[in-house]
Amino acid sequence: MSSSNEATVSGPPHAHHWDPVTAYHGSKLGMWLFLATEILLFGVLFTAFAIFRYLYMEEFHHASQYLDWKMGAINTAVLIFSSFTAVLGVDAAQHGDNKKTFRWLCVTVACGFIFLIVKYLEYSHKAHIGLFPFIECNDHAQFCWDSVEFKNEFKMYFGLYYCMTMLHALHVIIGMGILTWALLKAKKNRYSTDYYTPVEMGALYWHLVDLIWIYLFPLLYLVD
């Protein structure tokens, strides 16, 4: 089986105590386990959404029409493209090309920014028409979150919408952070054909962010 107990360890013994190949595969397994926890983290929200969608189908359908599917579609395309550039970043790192890795990861992070900007536009539109908690009621808005007339089912739909998309946006931000860290290492020429773990881990995380959005988009924006 896999063993890594090389007798000679230089430097801090506990931080680097296994050989590079085992370290790479171990890190990848660890990352997959972490992604598994992320799936379950979102899974709770998906489950809650599913059961309430089942119970309040009409109202959820009605509520979903206040989302702009075009914005959602743009963001889907942006994230898919960013996943593509992320994997090209990994590919470049696998070939030991630090420059290309740096460039592709920069594109990926830029896509993350575009995603967040679109998300911000969507949220601010919701806030404008009053479909947002914490907003004082005013006469211009179409809705008022805290008023008695505001439907409970709408609250539930948009509550779940905000939980899911905000948690997702938080993951986008974290992913951008990880990728920025990884691309700064590329800038310093740290990667070679036998060490590119940070790029691969960052990309795996980023793909998960994409993967979740692939489900969120039709679920929230499209399904009637």
Binding site: N5, P13, T37, L40, L41, A48, I51, G159
Partner: protein
């Protein structure tokens, strides 16, 4: 084996002695010890909370607490004991210390992540402390006396909709549980990768110590069940902040949905607590029976089976919550399934002892107490899994007694057993055996005196979490209170005895005081910073005691 003499050499405890070398350590042994001290502190806090309300319950009628204070105390007892003590419990302390030693590795897979998980635990513990003192309500209310002491009072389960409406301390407590969950996830993830990638040459899956198998099964649950409760608690906080109404029936929500989510984690979490204790007992019994463990494969498969079945039975906590009959029937039937692998384990331990050459040293006494107490827990668990019976027993002291037999009689006794068993390895000293045996006696008698009467109380209809009770219940409650103090003294003696031996003890421990065959005993006591002087290799499983080993079914 090594040129160094045991004892005089530099070991992991004295290789560096500054405070910084401890708080910045990535050594799994030191992190295990730091966890041990932290969770013991919370064990004491949670225990004192329990003793306080046991005094209140000594007599019928109000004594010295108000009902609100009583609610706060049992909430603190539950939340602290579960989230801060027993969930990290054996895996984070003994697991951290022993896992790399047992599989012949230098450390866990991600040492820095291991340290991070400890500090995440500390942050979570700090949030729990804020929840206890909850200064913010007091400050925000302009120092009104009503808000001076306003901690969480929902019970450790944070059931909606009350937890949505109760004081703001609930947010801190659930936030703490969320953060502590992350610590738990990182530990579990680390252990899984360690077991997969860092076993020493010859350490095949069929040669892994049963404790490692148990830790592996535990880690899978920790990693995959914890996110569910984490998100649920976030939803609860969102519910309070945004007023979404997911768990509020008056807004079309479903409070039972919260219970589903909560128990989807919190049932498997019972196995996070008790599976490592199974592993500990599985290690101790062959050593002190001088016999190969009976049915090694069945023992380890049972661990994995318990972990798997644990995910299928969660709604048996909810039989009286208004779930549909079909659901209740399924979950009742599935719950009976848990009894099978657990019984397999009990039979295997007993068969291991059968015709063995048993020596009754303290770890063995704890292990045997574990088997007895866990038997009671398991059989009463079957009562509670039975749908019709549970409707009567639900939320009575019968349930309280049942889960204390499981968690205290199982997990805590398992932890204390492990502490005694591996104490020579951890500290390099030997503890005082007669005092340890006396402490064991107090723990065992005190524990049973506390909780056996509670079975009777539950059968007579005493509901749990009640501040006051009818005078008829008083004799049993008095027995229980007396027992709880004996139990508390027992733990105090046991822990002080170990602490005294670790600090002032004169008797140096040899490498292998019990002639165990497991790998962690082949290195010095205490181990060096690098764990092993020479790269370990194994060619057999660690239970080949006695001669000859017939069959050799362990290969």
């Amino acid at each position: 084996m090594s040129a160094h003499a045991d004892g005089d050499d530099k070991n992991y405890l004295n290789c560096e002695t500054t405070l910084w070398s401890w708080i910045s350590t990535v050594d799994h042994k030191r992190i295990g010890l730091m966890y041990l001290f932290t969770i013991t502190a919370f064990f004491i806090v949670g225990g004192l909370a329990a003793l306080t309300f046991r005094i209140e319950l000594f007599s019928s009628g109000a004594q010295f607490l108000t009902p609100d204070q009583y609610n706060v105390l049992f909430t603190l007892h539950g939340a602290i004991m579960i989230f801060l003590f027993i969930v990290p419990g054996i895996p984070a302390t003994m697991g951290n210390f022993l896992l790399p030693l047992m599989i012949g590795a230098k450390d866990v897979a991600f040492p820095r992540l291991n340290l991070l998980s400890y500090y995440i635990y500390v942050v979570g513990a700090a949030m729990a402390l804020i929840a206890i003192f909850n200064p913010f309500d007091y400050i925000l209310s302009g120092f009104s006396a009503e808000q001076a002491f306003n901690p969480a009072d929902t019970g450790w389960t944070f059931y909606a909709p009350y937890s949505v409406k109760s004081g703001s301390a609930v947010v801190w407590m659930t936030g703490a549980a969320f953060v502590l969950g992350f610590s738990s996830i990182l530990t579990g993830l680390n252990f899984i990768v360690t077991v997969h990638k860092l076993r020493c040459p010859g350490m095949t899956w069929n040669r892994l110590p049963v404790f490692v198998w148990a830790l592996y099964a535990t880690s899978v649950i920790q990693t995959l069940a914890t996110p569910v409760v984490g998100m649920t608690l976030v939803l609860l906080i969102m519910e309070r902040v945004m007023g979404v109404g997911i768990f509020d029936p008056s807004m079309g929500g479903d409070p039972v949905l919260y219970e589903h989510f909560f128990w989807f984690y919190s049932h498997p979490v019972v196995y996070i607590m008790v599976l490592p204790a199974f592993g500990v007992v599985g290690e101790i019994i062959p050593v002190f029976s001088r016999k190969p463990i009976f049915g090694y494969k069945m023992v380890v498969y049972a661990s994995v089976a318990i972990a798997a079945v644990g995910f299928l039975v969660w709604a048996h906590h909810m039989f009286t919550s208004g779930i549909s009959d079909w659901t209740a029937i399924y979950f009742s039937v599935a719950t009976f399934g848990v009894a099978i692998p657990t019984a397999v384990k009990v039979f295997n331990w007993v068969s291991t002892m059968y015709k063995g050459s048993i020596s009754f040293e303290t770890p063995m006494l704890y292990a045997m107490a574990f088997i007895f107490l866990f038997m009671v827990a398991g059989t009463t668990g079957v009562y509670l899994a039975t749908l019709a019976v549970d409707v009567y027993y639900h939320d009575t002291y019968f349930v309280v007694a049942h889960f204390h037999y499981t968690i205290q009689g199982g997990a805590v006794i398992g932890l204390i057993a492990a502490l005694h068993f591996w104490f020579p390895k951890i500290s390099g000293k030997m503890y005082n055996e007669p005092v340890a045996k006396l402490a064991w006696f107090l723990v065992f008698v005190g524990f049973n005196l506390t909780f056996l009467p509670q079975f009777v109380l539950g059968m007579e209809g005493m509901p749990r979490r009640y501040f006051d009770y009818l005078p008829e219940f008083q004799p049993m409650h008095r027995l229980s209170t007396i027992g709880s103090f004996i139990n508390g003294f027992g733990y105090t003696f046991a822990l002080l005895n170990l602490l005294y031996a670790a600090v002032f003890g004169r008797v140096k421990a040899p490498r292998n005081p019990y002639n165990s065959l497991s790998l962690e005993w082949k290195t010095a006591s205490p181990p060096s910073h690098h764990n092993f002087d020479e790269d370990p290799e194994v060619d057999d499983y660690p239970y080949a005691y006695g001669t000859p080993v017939e069959g050799g079914g362990h290969h």
